[in-house]
């Protein structure tokens, strides 16, 4: 299984029936494909939809129904539309249960950097800063190391931050790690075939091993 698919599948298991969920662009969006049939979540798109359905097929694409990535989407039973101002009342006001976002770096204090690399073209933060500050739970969907093999889970973020002390769970192809305030990074699950040492070696920050350490299942 491809890393991205594995991560998305594992995150899907974090969603509970009735949750309001906002999925970021890219890998986080893939989470929607793996939500169990008996778990009903309301997907929010920050451009103004609550109740995003599957992508729209040919012939059902409507210019008045796109998601925050600009894709044509369908709606579910019980969908509602609203403007950006109300959308961010929902987000910043703590009415989103879970947001899943990618990250460039995350550190021991739950600080997240996911929107810019100095010297490179800046796409802008979009709704990411509001989402990580406002959502009840922030889950990071990220590969454990970057393209050069360097750890992305670090002692202290070096890139410009998206927000301070907001990440609660980190899911990578190697592990599930909880960020516990005033404690640090707690290793909860490791991928099949890996050792704790493998994970620690790919992680700059020191990991606290959970007494309940499990093998990741997807």
């Amino acid at each position: 299984m491809e890393n991205r698919e594995f991560i998305a599948k594992r995150i899907a298991k974090e969603l509970k029936d009735g949750d309001v969920v906002n999925l970021g662009i890219g890998m986080p969006t893939m989470v929607a494909n793996y939500i169990p049939k008996d778990v009903n979540v309301m997907l929010q798109a920050e451009n103004g939809i609550l109740g995003v359905g599957p992508k729209a097929g040919e012939g059902e694409q409507k210019s008045d129904c796109i998601d925050a990535g600009g894709n044509y989407v369908t709606t579910v039973k019980g969908t509602s539309f609203f403007d950006s101002s109300f959308s961010f009342c929902i987000i910043r006001g703590g009415h989103v249960d879970i947001t899943v976002l990618g990250a460039l770096e995350v550190d021991e204090e739950g600080n997240v950097a996911n929107w810019m690399i100095p010297g490179k073209k800046v796409p802008g933060m979009g709704g990411a800063m509001d989402l990580v500050v406002g959502a009840k739970k922030v889950i990071l969907a990220m590969e454990h190391v970057n393209k050069n093999g360097a750890p992305k889970i670090v002692k202290k973020c070096r890139l410009p931050l998206t927000a301070v002390n907001v990440a609660r769970t980190i899911v990578t192809e190697m592990a599930v790690i909880d960020v516990v305030p005033k404690k640090g990074l707690v290793l909860k699950e490791i991928a099949p075939g890996l050792t704790v040492e493998d994970v620690q070696n790919a992680t700059e920050a020191k990991l606290i091993i959970s007494p309940d350490l499990k093998v990741m299942e997807v």
Binding site: A45, E46, N47, G48, I49, K62, S63, D64, C65, I66, D67, A68, G70, F81, F82, D83, S84, S85, S87, F88, I91, R92, N111, K121, V122, P123, G124, M125, G126, G127, A128, M129, D130, V133, G134, P160, L161, T162, A163, V164
Partner: protein, 218 residues
């Protein structure tokens, strides 16, 4: 009752050098393409300020407008879909100021609502807080964000009636509603135009008093 219906060329003719212009829409959704095309092709005003969530995409006239050198200042949130805006930010050919999306929407709402500003937890501890006043309440820090207004707003709606009442469907509402309240002169591009009284008063998204000119397209 003053007849608000007019041509794009005529409506756009009131834009002058140095004006600030809000442009509604989220990527292609609810974007007033005909009005921006008229601004690009039928008006030569320069030194413009553009306020837009994302400054659109490469397929839209706003891409050409940003590229034209007539835009000296941009307020936006996400600019990854308009590489020209990113280029201006890098080269500093224009001032490009980025805001968290919820903060941008709220700043525009505050401008229209007569508020002097608002406190948001979003952006605290990031570069967004640069040059901003921080206010601490109950041991929590907030950024004081200022209202944003403009000379002109270009917005997109599905339908207008003779009084200027607008209906905006689905995910096309986004920034169009708040922008209609925050500009001195509001031009709405619409697909349908009906008599006063034909829109259910419960379904009006922008009351007609906010709309100065209506351009019917298609």
């Amino acid at each position: 009752m003053k007849n608000k219906i007019t041509s794009a060329q005529e409506a756009i003719s009131m834009i002058k050098d140095g004006d600030s212009i809000m442009v509604g829409g989220f990527l292609t959704g609810g974007h007033p393409e005909h009005l921006v095309a008229a601004l690009l092709n039928e008006n030569s005003a320069g030194n413009l300020t553009i306020i837009s969530n994302d400054t659109g995409t490469q397929e839209l006239s706003i891409f050409q407008l940003v590229k034209s050198g007539r835009v000296k200042r941009i307020f936006a949130s996400y600019i990854g879909s308009n590489p020209e805006t990113g280029r201006l930010l890098m080269t500093k050919e224009a001032t490009v100021q980025l805001f968290p999306q919820g903060t941008l929407a709220e700043k525009i709402r505050a401008g229209g609502a007569g508020l002097g500003g608002f406190l948001t937890p979003v952006g605290v501890g990031t570069i967004v807080e640069e040059d901003k006043r921080k206010i601490e309440i109950d041991n929590k820090e907030y950024l004081l964000e200022m209202p944003l207004k403009a000379n002109v707003a270009l917005i997109k709606a599905h339908m207008a009636d003779e009084t200027g009442n607008l209906v905006i469907n689905g995910s096309s509402r986004n920034f169009n509603i708040v922008m209609a309240t925050a500009a001195d002169y509001v031009i709405a591009e619409v697909d349908e135009y009906v008599k006063a009284g034909e829109i259910d008063p419960n379904h009006v998204n922008v009351p007609g008093i906010f709309v100065n000119a209506i351009v019917k397209v298609g």
